[in-house]
Amino acid sequence: MKKLMNKPSGFVDEMLDGLVSANPSLALSGETGRVVHRATTIRKGKVGVVSGGGSGHLPLFTGYVGEGLLDGCSIGNVFEGPTVGSCMEAIRLADGGQGVLRLYGNYGGDRMNFDMAGEMLEDEGIRTTTVLGNDDVASAGPSERQKRRGVAGIIYAYKTAGALAETGADLDAVTAIAQKTVDRTRTIGVALSPCQVPGSDKPSFTLGDNEIEMGMGIHGEPGIWRDQLKPADTIADEMIERLLADKPEGVGSRASILVNSLGATPLEELFILYRRARTQLEAAGITIVRPLVGHYATSMEMAGASISLCFVDDEIEALLAAPASCPFWTVTA
């Protein structure tokens, strides 16, 4: 796979350098050089919201640092968790005296690192809470929801927690809204072709010439089935069906939808998927609010798409509508 890069060892640091120099609202800090945070210092009294994860998923994770979203983000090598040190630095920078929510995807490595960071910071008197994104319905059954991996749907929790934190809400409230948002968000992805970690000599997985995999994870974790490519409408139908079969208990009939490119899949194809998804949701009595279509959480040049549903209530819907601005997502009042 051809990549526009220099040495693989510089991939992440050069990318971060470019990211923050192209976006003056962001700054890069820390002994590790792997913490992206808002260029302004945190407002005293504001609860901090931080995330983190491996590189290779832009706009995730660092791209969501901005007003009404994240305060900071620790970032690891490609598909590798952020270091404990960078997690600590991100949390410290996001602490305005009212504590910090750690909001990240449910991956073993990331959990270890954020947990360890949190424990080590307790000694410094920084209070932290944790909410784990676990929206990927393909990664475990409904009875083992806490084992599910986090994928694109986490941006809904970034948005609601970030918006509530801006209002001056306390750590418990910010944590609660993030948890509620995660609890109401479901995602499924379909992969059409793999990506390749810089420096690796082979792709992260292989698929046949005309083969796709339903439910594959964003690092190539095995999915639900492999089969020949099918028409977009057939694929959208199955994705929506699986999401609705996993609809959380007790939610209403309004949902936001995110149709996300895993990387190489162009906007044209996303809109073809969206069109069918919307039809199927409406047929199921669901009203779509604030649809999002685009590149929100990728795996570099992987081809494929994911669909997320966030079943809103009045509180979530209002927070999704609150102003927000980061390099890749702007919501205006």
Binding site: N77, T83, V84, G85
Partner: protein, 201 residues
């Protein structure tokens, strides 16, 4: 004889040397079932620890904690963070003691092992570094000198690797491959065998 700050520094330096030829071997082992980075990661972590100036450490426990902190800056991979976790826990336990007796080593390794179990959520028997450490904790119980402990540890780590080869991986990236992992060495266990062998030399 006992373990001192300077013998810790010496051990790290030797491990760091050993990583030279080991890096590729461990990457290759990890590439079979994981993401092929165990060697590069360990080289980075141990390299970073070798850079730490331990001369100011008042006791072995403090030295271990300083090494743990260095490790937390160098990697975000599972094994690296588990190493740091183990070192930190052992360091906390040893803090205040002027020296670590050979007879204390078994307890310290067990402390590290337990902290790593708590952090990573894996169990003994899952075919991970934990199983190597568990075997080492047991093997060094009767060691009188650090040298005896090193030989016993090397033998235990080698035996554990042999014993687990025919079993399946039940944690981490390798778990996705299920029974295909039977017959293949776990890269973390392989790393422990090679590093303890280097220390026993």
């Amino acid at each position: 004889m006992s373990v001192t700050v300077s013998s810790i520094a010496f051990a790290i330096a030797r491990a760091n040397e050993a990583m030279g030829p080991l890096e590729q071997v461990l990457n290759d082992a990890d590439a079979k079932l994981g993401d092929g980075d165990t060697g590069g990661m360990l080289a980075r972590v141990i390299g970073k620890m070798a850079e730490v100036d331990l001369s100011g450490a008042v006791d072995p426990g403090t030295a271990l904690s300083q090494l743990a902190k260095a490790a937390t800056l160098a990697t975000g991979s599972s094994l690296g963070t588990l190493f740091a976790t183990g070192l930190l826990a052992a360091g906390r336990e040893a803090k205040g003691r002027e020296a670590i007796d050979a007879g204390d080593l078994s307890d310290l390794v067990a402390t590290a092992r337990d902290a790593m179990i708590a952090r990573g959520g894996a169990s003994l028997g899952d075919k991970t570094v934990l199983d190597s450490l568990d075997a080492i904790a047991d093997a060094v119980k009767d060691a009188r000198t650090p040298d005896q402990a090193a030989s016993a540890a090397a033998k235990a780590a080698a035996d554990a690797l042999e014993a687990f080869r025919s079993r399946p991986n039940r944690i981490g990236r390798a778990r996705m491959f299920g029974d295909q992992t039977i017959g293949i060495d776990d890269p973390g266990m392989l790393a422990i065998r090679e590093l303890t062998a280097a220390l026993a030399r």
